[in-house]
């Protein structure tokens, strides 16, 4: 399959701080990429660069077929104002707000699409509830419905499972799998080594000024996780010696 996004010799950071340099990778349609790294290693900056909000220090970024007009994006949930007075249904519809025009109303077809997105995210039954009455998991499902509504070829998710329970995570992971099957590129910032990585085919590990890219199973070795300051030697020994589910996939 042809690459959708080609990155060559990329350096990322700020004028007085280089986060990493020398990253080259090609992402094909239907790729789910996990981005891992210690705090401050450049995970969120990498996402912002893909969004076009931060320019790389060096290197090239080539979109085959042009940069997607629409990029599906879900920021960390802590940045969201839950007291805003709208319903779950309206939040999901926001994903397609550019298509409505300034004054246009949601036609029947769009309302059906919103309902389908809410159903896929498992929040159709609470579609008319206000955001302030939702639990953290329900809000994240509603935000996933918004990403579905964006119908974008590239989807960026910044720590989407940080504040949700296991059952919500499991449900949202099925949506992730569906996106992959539909040929979308999904870039997912993850904080922990967990079963989420089973749903990703490639990983990008940032840390210690380096960026390593490769298939999940061959990339995330104890040696590399330690050398890129993701974890200490003793943590790696414990995690990879014990028969934990976290270790099983590596």
């Amino acid at each position: 399959m042809a690459a959708v996004l080609e990155i060559g010799n990329l350096a990322l950071g700020y004028p007085d701080l280089t986060l990493f340099r020398g990253l080259s990778m090609d992402l094909e349609a239907g790729t789910t990429l996990a981005v891992l790294g210690a705090n401050g290693s450049g995970k969120s900056t990498f996402v912002k660069m893909l969004l076009g909000l931060v320019d790389p220090l060096a290197g090239r970024l080539t979109w085959t077929g042009g940069r997607p007009r629409e990029i599906g994006y879900l920021a960390q949930m802590t940045e969201f104002d839950r007291r805003f007075p709208i319903r779950v249904r309206d939040l999901a519809a926001m994903g397609a707000w550019k298509g409505f025009g300034a004054r246009g109303r949601l036609d029947r077809g769009m309302q059906d699409k919103v309902a389908a997105a809410l159903d896929a995210a498992g929040v159709l039954d609470i579609a008319d509830r206000s955001l302030h009455s939702l639990s953290g998991g329900q809000l994240q499902r509603a935000l996933f419905a918004r990403v579905i509504m964006q119908d974008a070829p590239l989807i960026l998710l910044d720590e989407p499972f940080a504040a949700v329970d296991q059952s919500t995570e499991a449900h949202l992971l099925t949506i992730l799998d569906r996106w992959r099957d539909e040929g979308r590129v999904v870039v997912l910032v993850v904080h922990d080594l967990s079963s989420v990585l089973d749903h990703c085919d490639h990983a990008l590990l940032l840390g210690n000024g380096e960026a390593s890219f490769g298939p999940v199973r061959s990339l995330l070795t104890p040696e590399r996780l330690v050398s890129q300051a993701y974890m200490s030697r003793s943590q790696a020994d414990w995690m990879f010696r014990a028969e934990t589910p976290e270790a099983a996939h590596v």
Binding site: L53, F80, F84
Partner: protein, 300 residues
């Protein structure tokens, strides 16, 4: 009482005041609603004070006219906004501290110039507004600002809602995300200037914020916020103007804002999202009642 009200309606300046505040209510209501939703309530207040030196310099240089008010106020308002943004971005101060510093200097400067110039405008009406000050030109200003505001909201409503609800998402979706913010600040300054004559510099934001915060206690939708903000603003204006007429020594600004304050108090106490009875609140209280009884059982 009815004779008194009939007498009030017979005066041309009162008729103008009622027309001006009615149109003003329609204009400032959506601005106030979004100031509250964007967590800029205090920034709106500070901006009202920040534009005062521009208005005063306009008065002193070009005389007491709507044109001088508009030009002086716009220059000061835009200048204060730019200066605040520069201080917040380039220095250690956060934007609230920058804006507070700018507006305090500006307000003091405005009153200093006003006093030093021995202007024809009495300080009291400058600070608190006067229903006697509303001439035909002021009416035209209010009408023009209301037209610009309502047309702008018709065009900008969706981007405003998206950028207010989720600024990070909005930033990722648009090429020039600051455009909506800048347009909103310009609309805010225009509305503050339109409200100056009736409400004065110190009270201009009152008719924006209090109806909007009152509305917040009653409605969980944007449409509800906008409609209720307008209704509260309208009722406050009319009742406040009547109060100001009945007590001739009271300036119109505080009378209107105090009435809006009455609606706010009522909303806090009776609104479903305030202290009033609402299903959500009673659900939320239940766990604490359970945990209390659990604690009591433990003690026993």
């Amino acid at each position: 009482m009815f004779d008194l009200l009939a007498e009030m309606w017979s005066y041309a300046f009162m008729q103008r005041a009622f027309v001006a505040t009615t149109v003003l209510s329609a204009s400032v209501a959506p601005v106030g609603a979004f100031l509250v939703l964007r967590r800029l309530s205090l920034a709106g207040e500070a901006m009202a004070h920040a534009i005062s030196p521009g208005v005063v310099i306009g008065f002193v240089v070009a005389g007491l006219s709507v044109f001088s008010l508009l030009i002086g106020g716009l220059i000061a308002g835009v200048g204060a906004a730019i200066l605040t943004a520069v201080l917040a971005r380039k220095t250690i101060l956060r934007s609230d501290a920058s804006l507070a510093s700018i507006y305090l200097i500006a307000l003091a400067l405005g009153i200093f110039i006003l006093s030093a110039a021995g202007s024809a405008v009495p300080l009291k009406s400058f600070l608190f507004g006067s229903i006697l000050g509303i001439d035909d030109a002021s009416l035209i200003l209010v009408g023009a600002v209301a037209t610009v505001t309502l047309v702008s909201f018709a065009v900008l409503l969706r981007p405003l809602i998206v950028s207010t609800c989720d600024p990070v998402f909005f930033e990722a979706q648009t090429r020039r995300p600051m455009l909506v913010e800048q347009a909103f600040m310009l609309i805010l300054v225009l509305n503050l200037l339109a409200a100056f004559k009736t409400l004065g510099t110190l009270m201009a934001v009152g008719l924006m914020i209090l109806p909007a915060t009152s509305a917040r206690y009653w409605s969980s939708t944007i449409t509800g916020q906008l409609v209720l903000s307008f209704l509260f603003a309208l009722a406050s204006s009319w009742l406040g103007l009547t109060l100001s007429y009945l007590f001739p020594e009271t300036p119109s600004g505080p009378a209107i804002v105090l009435t809006a304050g009455g609606f706010f108090l009522l909303s806090v106490l009776a609104g479903p999202l305030g202290f009033g009875l609402s299903p959500r609140r009673s659900v939320r209280r239940r766990p604490s009642a359970l945990s209390r009884s659990a604690t009591e059982r433990t003690r026993q």
